[in-house]
Symmetry: C2
Subunit: 293 residues, 2 copies
DNA sequence: GCAGATATCTAT
DNA sequence: ATAGATATCTGC
């Protein structure tokens, strides 16, 4: 079997996920003598856990579609997983990145949200200052080696009570898992990217902001209308954290900035039209009033 | 029992560590059904693991010395653990922070080091821009609530081979632990602080640089001669990452900077003398010189 | 939403 | 040693 348009990672991954029916109920860490240590809810840890649990699924997907599965060993290298074509077809690698964040909830009614509803959340989607600006910076190989960039995102509740009792391997039942209510989505990265950073000093792209995982599953961000190239251009020119000249910080301002450039290769008018269409049909504001802030 | 000068955390912790004789041989993560997932060597994970393994030791120490053990729940709050006096004596809390880094080795002889010797390493010792400059910033309570600040440091080798096989709980023997050769030290923070940052954009204090854990165990950094107050003053005035005016970046420059200030409250001459004494007796350079003789 | 915290690493 | 990467969070 060889790669073809038939390989749809989103579809395949979701199918496997259903088949495997993972519980995500991680109890803790186990040492070689069988002592189990409870986990905290630290996100650094949780993110890695999701990453490791899905390895068998990714391995199976790779095998069945004539890819080899690679994991960069360096800690500062994008992406988390690579599907590398066994036929070595250039420019056809597939990048898979795992992203994680936790839910918090409104305690009282706020701007059209009811008490008890989850707050809108944002995923941090990786640097906008590394491989997007320099094709070999902090990436395995070259940015051009990749055909597709997928995000597997996890959202979860932190257990309120932290358990810190150490138990024997025979007493796993006694442990309260630190994470609950896990939801997962898969989508092409550009379709969930937003127009605002997800961090300051470490210059990460922020996802669209929503409290509904459906919106992410369906990939309804602005660049789903504008296209992957516009996403790449927008974020490779987004002002750096310490830039004195903030040329633009929104898509509207980006269009104006683009319009003033002499060497532009796209029709700004068309982009504006697509963006307006998105605003009307798909923007979070059209889902829920006043998601701004 | 009440707190007294008799409570020496370093001594007590080292004793418990010997008693417990922990193996540090973490095999992996276990879920509630008993499936074990291997760990990677990602430092984010490893650091948390050391943190969790020593919880029982800290609990016992707290109990036996009339402290309660607290762990700040927020992810951006110093310290990792707090010993809080049960008699509520103000200004007498004890901060314990866990720090981790891994060894790497010279492949060929270099500047007096032999091939195969471990490279000198630096621990990142937390921000110099938060609670040191604003007593309530990113700290549980106020900086003045604390009497002592200890660092428990771990240094380890990353396993060369990464194991990614998932096993049953009955097959723990099959797993190769991802970390080997763990060494641990405890020391008062100011005694292991160095004069250079341990990170750029995230503005962390760097420890003294050494490839010998003995040097850290003994707390032989420059501020062990200059004192805790000089450490706090040096690092609360160290130039920020993006500062245009780099007033000083070494202790020698700091002394000159201090000398020019009109409101100084310390005798710069005395500091210089102490520093010179340190340079002669204790600096890593004087260690290296001894090694070469 | 911004700015800068959490911890540590790596390329130059 | 420096500068900026890795991922995500939080106070204002």
């Amino acid at each position: 079997m060889t790669q073809s348009k038939a390989f749809d990672f989103i579809e395949v991954f979701q199918k496997k996920l259903t088949e495997y029916n993972l519980s995500w109920e991680i109890a803790g860490l186990v040492d070689k003598s069988g002592v189990v240590y409870p986990l905290g809810t630290d996100s650094k840890l949780i993110g890695r856990i999701f990453e490791m649990i899905i390895v068998p699924i990714l391995t199976e997907i790779a095998d069945e579609n004539d890819y080899s599965l690679e994991m960069p060993s360096s800690q500062n290298t994008y992406p988390d997983f690579i599907f590398s074509p066994k036929n070595l077809e250039p420019g056809k690698k597939v990048a898979i990145d795992i992203k994680t964040t936790f839910r918090s909830y409104y305690k009282r009614p706020y701007k059209g949200f009811k008490a008890g509803e989850p707050r809108p959340y944002v995923f941090t989607l990786g640097s906008f200052a590394s491989f997007l600006r320099n094709g070999t910076k902090n990436i395995q190989g070259h940015y051009n080696d990749y055909d597709k960039h997928y995000v597997v995102g996890f959202i979860y509740d932190r257990a309120v009570e932290q358990d810190s009792t150490i138990v024997k391997i025979t007493e796993l039942d006694l442990i309260t898992p630190p994470i609950l209510n896990v939801e997962c989505f898969v989508q092409e990265k550009y379709k969930i990217v937003g127009e605002k950073p997800g961090s300051g000093n470490t210059e990460n792209i922020g996802s669209i902001k929503t409290n509904s995982i459906e919106y992410l599953k369906e990939g309804k961000g602005p660049f789903s209308y504008l296209g992957q190239e516009v996403y790449e251009h927008y974020w490779s020119n987004y002002p750096r954290y310490r830039a004195t000249n903030q040329e633009y910080t929104t898509l509207s301002e980006y269009f104006e900035w683009l319009d003033k450039k002499t060497d532009k290769t796209v029709q700004v008018k068309e982009l504006k039209e697509k963006y307006n269409e998105w605003l009307v049909k798909e923007s979070p504001a059209s889902y829920l009033d006043l998601l701004e802030e």
